[in-house]
Subunit: 332 residues, 2 copies
DNA sequence: CTGTTAGCGCCTTCAA
DNA sequence: TTGAAGGCGCTAACAG
């Protein structure tokens, strides 16, 4: 293939070791003169460093791996943006791998790929790791951190929004707007995230001594279709005056099905979504949301990952906040 | 770090060479018995192959790299899906890197990262490579192929939709619906893609002997805001009865600004977008689009990349088609 | 400041 | 079918 440091050494009339020192920028260990000679020779030969060789001997890599749950998670972009920003700043490379949705085999494959390459660190974005892969990840001896997902019992270190608070805040927002009958739609109730949010919703309703009904809670998977289904479940003549959607896409599903029912948002029904991605701004009516700090999640994620101490890592939540738009209004 | 084949060899009572043969599956070169022994030892030690070492000696890698222009290109997901499908099938790993939007430095960085790792092949999705990086890519001696972007004069091999045809087809569709005054909005007229589509639009208008006006063509960058701006440029009282948007997001921008103007879509104004991603289905009215075969682009991309012969590669266009939805209707 | 030497973990002849 | 030996390209002591 390409030229090696040996070729450069020959052309520049120095030893390979010197070339190595110059090229890897170990300043103070070579003279300006030889440095220039080496660089010139390298350029002339179109030299490209062989990362495999470097990593083989140094046993460290300058790339961090991001494993994402699928191509469909529309907020992952923001998290990755934050990661990239930090990587740039710290002169690290980032590679991204997809691990599908709840697919143990794909997860394993992605993990193996990055472990075999002994990356510097692994960030897992919205990955609900199959327990069969726990050991693989743990025994690799590579720092890792989960992003945008919560675990029970400190199974793994993670950074996420406080999902209980998300549910709580969305609900109190609506209650304080005068709503009493509030739906909770399209979250995956099997997931810890979904359960936390639901718990937050229930707590808020309880605190205000508002009755709830199982019919108001619809199961799903955070998807557009789940929003549509939820609205269908509530029905054309629903008694609900407000709904909390588990994601922006789910909220759009609710909006569209409401329109099909000729239920007016926000006049007949207020909708609050969770996430607050750009989608909230481009649909009409715009969607009021509990907005998560995804970009910050990426930034904090990188900082934490690189900061070490992941073993004694104690829960870090990134901020959330209500962004008011047109899809929710006061009731009564 | 982890165990090496030497450790395994010791534990299994064979030579490292044998372990290597067993683990890399060179069947016919070892007995079942030793194979079992080796595998058992490997599992016991939690062995993970050191990819750096393997690649250093074999000089080949089983991973293909995908470089994407940014996290914002919402159709890239579909292309990547297609790529992943093929990779899965051929037992290849894929890593994804972002190269920003028109950012020569980021492009260079991404290229270097993957070249240094001597990946099997490089797929560049929606990357308008800065000329300063042409040489880097070419001299790496790694097969590469551009996806979803066109080049003049065979600068690089690519697979894309036929952008001229896209412009032409969108226009004739509207003309045949009776529209005469048709806008062409929010495409980047500096890009070859934008120019081709515009040429297609003009050809169609010409063929039907329809006059056009420079005012009907708005420049932009395929973004949501460009759609909004285009509609503002056309104005509340526009004479246009139809507009072709350069992307789904741009179309949504047009929709929203039209609504702000109280211009009814499709009654007062028909809108056709280019791309046909899921966004077309979740906004109201749904958007009629010239739909591109992004997934197929990914699949064909992988096949072509791996098939070799990229030097004598002759243009391959993936299919397009009109998907009728509610945002466009007959005029007059 | 620079050259020499010895591997990193693995694959691959070559011989046995 | 297996083992021994050499080397991939690079870095890291250790001398000088």
């Amino acid at each position: 293939m390409g030229a090696t440091i040996k070729d450069i050494a020959e052309l520049a009339g120095v030893s390979p070791a010197t070339v190595s020192r110059v090229l890897s920028g170990q300043s103070d260990f070579y003279s300006e003169k030889t440095a220039r000679r080496v660089h010139r020779a390298a350029k002339k030969l179109g030299y490209q460093k062989n990362t495999s060789a470097v990593e083989l001997v140094t046993k460290t890599s300058k790339t961090i791996a991001v494993i994402v749950s699928s191509t469909q998670t529309n907020f992952a972009d923001q998290i990755i943006d934050g990661i990239q920003e930090q990587a740039m700043q710290k002169d690290l490379n980032v590679i991204i791998l997809y691990a599908g949705e709840k697919n143990a085999k794909l997860q394993k494959r992605a993990l193996e790929t990055v472990i075999e390459r002994s990356v510097l660190g692994i960030l897992l974005v919205a990955i609900d790791l199959d327990p069969s892969n726990d050991n693989l990840l743990r025994s690799a001896n590579i720092p890792f951190l989960f992003l945008s997902i919560c675990f029970r019992n400190h199974r793994f270190p993670f950074i996420s929004s406080d999902d209980f608070k998300i549910g709580y805040q969305a609900t109190t927002y609506l209650i304080e707007k005068g709503h009493v009958k509030i739906g909770f739609a399209a979250a995956d109730l099997e997931s810890f995230t979904g359960q936390l949010r639901l718990a937050g919703y229930r707590r808020a309703m309880d605190e205000y001594q508002l009755p709830t009904s199982p019919d108001w809670v619809s199961d799903g998977d955070f998807a557009y279709e789940d929003g549509v289904l939820a609205m269908k479940q509530y029905g054309e003549e629903t008694q609900l005056t407000a709904v909390i959607a588990s994601s922006d896409l789910a909220a759009i599903g609710i909006l569209n099905q409401a329109q099909a029912f000729n239920v007016k948002v926000p006049n007949d029904l207020s909708v609050v979504s969770i996430d607050g991605t750009y989608l909230c701004n481009i649909v009409r009516p715009r969607i009021t949301s509990v907005t998560q700090s995804f970009r910050e999640m990426g930034i904090k994620g990188m900082q934490t990952l690189l900061g070490g101490k992941l073993d004694q890592f104690d829960l870090l939540y990134t901020g959330i906040g209500i962004t008011e738009r047109e899809s929710a209004k006061s009731h009564g």
